[in-house]
Subunit: 437 residues, 2 copies
């Protein structure tokens, strides 16, 4: 018998009908003898509706009040789910972030978990009940509600799974799992059966939207096995861990089914292609080519509380003693960064700033890169054949990322998907099959 943490996102609990379906799934796992902890997001558009009202009343709303406001969404969904499960004859108790012992720092809107003491959750399980926990929220030392940022419910679920030493943390979503690429761009994209933490981190960090990056980091640190799957079917999803599923899960899912048959024939080199349209590019041209310039530049950027992603520095070709730094940031942060750079013009002593919001980022991810040389040659060859110009490059042990023109992003993704044989074959269709495999 296993301890299972299930997390349901907003689309899985959009209305009372969906809540009933989720309740039945939870009850089935509980009736099979497992301990079940459920983490829920707010129902459907609740969070967006609350944000709209807040924006109408105060475009610059205090963050403490914003977190209190947004936390109401999960309280509604968790209470209703507890009622729906109880209606099926299984005792269920819902807990807020505070009641579930989720302590955070005080950074409203993007708090980090500083401590997990899910004592009431453990007690509920001990008495044979289902425990439901509000995703996305915690409490700080002042006794105020904090939220973990968009997608924070994933983090709540993984953190609970880690604290309770769960056998698996299941992330239920509206798709079947992680895919080799976004199926809206690549119709032949295949579901990925199994990923290790490193690959998943790279995919999540580089634009795959199914999983929250912080949740994956948490899962890797505490070795929490993740299972990303659809709340609309019983199909197996994507297994994320460095190991196979625990034997305790045998009655719940088929551990063997995650081992791809085709691995006997050929180790897949590439797991998937992530893309990201949310970045923008800023080039600061003609900076003095001397020590400290880059440090001062990024001090200014950091003051905007912005995360920058890729950075490239070049010598300015026609201007001796000058260099150029280009970096990418999230589109929401660009305005603030540009204003700060403008103000710091004298300190930084640059010649020009070029701002390009029309870029796309594409990342090829695969653990097989570690042992397969020649991947990057094939990568750039394929982009070149497709006529896609590369503007920036960055790599990690298991990833190659490039910035390309936004208009060419889809084409670039498709070209690489084909080049690395990720396109689904006729016979591959069974990959989507039920739990029987």
């Amino acid at each position: 018998m296993a301890l299972i943490v299930q997390k349901y996102g907003g689309s899985s609990v959009a209305d009372t009908a969906s809540l009933k379906r989720v309740a039945q799934r939870v009850v089935a796992a509980h009736r099979a003898g497992h301990d079940v902890v459920v983490v829920v997001s707010a129902m459907g558009d609740t969070t967006d509706d609350l944000l709209d009202m807040a924006a109408e009343l105060n475009p610059d709303a205090p963050k403490r009040e914003m977190d209190m406001l947004l936390s109401a969404g999960e309280r509604i969904s968790m209470s209703l789910l507890a009622m729906a499960i109880t209606a099926e004859g299984v005792p269920a108790y819902a807990y807020t972030g505070r009641q579930a012992g989720i302590h955070t720092d005080t950074r409203y809107g993007k708090a980090s978990i500083t401590g997990m003491v899910p004592e009431r959750v453990a007690r509920a399980l001990h008495t044979g009940s289902v425990a439901i926990v509000a995703g996305f929220q915690g409490v700080n030392d002042r006794g105020d509600v904090t939220t973990l940022g968009r997608g924070g419910s994933d983090t709540t679920a993984v953190a609970l799974a880690a604290a309770l030493n769960a056998d698996v943390c299941e992330i239920f979503t509206d798709v079947d799992g992680l895919f080799t690429a976004d199926p809206r761009i690549v119709p032949l994209a295949r579901q990925v059966r199994k990923l290790d933490y490193q690959e998943t981190l790279e995919l999540a960090a580089n634009g795959a939207k199914i999983l929250h990056l912080r949740a994956v980091e948490y899962a890797r640190r505490y070795r929490v096995p993740l299972h990303v799957r659809s709340s609309f079917s019983d199909k197996l999803g994507t297994w994320i861990a460095d190991d196979r599923p625990a034997s305790t899960l045998a009655g719940y899912l088929d551990p063997d089914s995650f081992d791809r048959k085709e691995q006997d024939m050929e180790q897949p080199i590439i797991s998937g292609i992530a893309h990201d349209r949310s970045q923008e590019k800023i080039t600061v041209a003609g900076l003095p080519d001397k020590p400290g310039t880059a440090a001062e530049l990024f001090r200014q950027v950091a003051a905007a509380d912005a995360n920058i992603d890729m950075i490239v520095q070049n010598i300015a070709v026609n201007v001796p003693g000058r260099s150029t730094i280009t970096f990418t940031c999230q589109s929401g942060d660009a305005k603030d960064i540009l204003e700060r750079l403008e103000k710091a013009r004298e300190i930084l002593d640059y010649r020009e700033i070029v701002y390009n919001p029309e870029i796309g980022k594409l990342s090829l991810v695969g653990a097989g890169m570690r042992t397969n040389p020649g991947i990057s040659a094939r990568f750039f060859e394929a982009l070149s054949k497709a006529g896609v110009n590369v503007e920036m490059i960055s790599t990690s042990e298991v990833r190659i990322s490039v910035i390309v023109d936004a208009d060419r992003l889809d084409e670039a993704v498709r070209a690489l998907h084909a080049e690395f044989n990720l396109d689904a074959q006729e016979t591959e269709a069974v990959v989507y099959g039920g739990t029987g495999r």
Copy 2:
């Protein structure tokens, strides 16, 4: 400078536009130099919408989860109001029942306040901020959210006003104050300018829906002056206290304006007429006329957790050694009571049960009754003239109540309103005038 607690009901915070209007009213009081604590209900239909969803998922939902669910409504309205006030340039902080130190017992759905420690509220006032508190909710010793029952936000406001020693607790609603009768039944009903606690208690207990009975009891016990007024105008409402407004309120409202001019001419004997359609009548006929019978009967009724209101006992005319007991209860409780009485037929040894849901209760309330004999004669004479049959009677020091046929209730209210000269005169129209009077 005064400390003012303002409570806004659901219709006063129905949407973002209403929240803005409330924010402006709060800010005006704050800018005038007063300390302002605001208690809010859930926005408009939020609570009903949540109840509908809950009923759909589980008609017999666990009460703990129900309280958690319903408490979300006030968290939304209070956070949004804090944002709206902050947008006006005044610092504002919103506090849940727990954060405001509102401790209750564990009777979910109808919890009683057991302790008030509004430390954070007092600190917010001390720093020159507006403090907003979620109405209707508290926290029990287990750390779980409880609700105070329908209308519980009034109780929250009065309890806070008592704990903070406020100069006034203002109950903002969608009508101008308390009236001599329901204006939907008596078009000539007048607004009452001033009531003492006893009169208000009798009105609230006997069907006047503007104020929650428990809130009035709380106000009387702790001598909290209440001001019931409209959130849609600046008109003076109804002042409820045994004294005149405190002099500290002079800059906020005109204490003199609550002293009716017409009192010089004639002390009003009757303050108002309350009516109540929510009661039903149960008659248990042919009970053994011996000690203990009534006790056993009401033990059975109490087991249904029902509040009974009026009770009449008669000797059964044609059956020697038998008596008949008739009582009224809230309509929602009748079914359970009838089932229990049916089951207890052998123990109670009665002949027959007669159930009549088609009754109406009418109560004439006025402090002047204490010193004016002959009121009851006029009361019954007027009903008799109007051809209204009286089924049950109960009285207190300042009240006469009767049960009549539901169909005749409106007529009875109108007849008494005219008999006791409560109908508005042409010149009385200025009673509704602005704060200038």
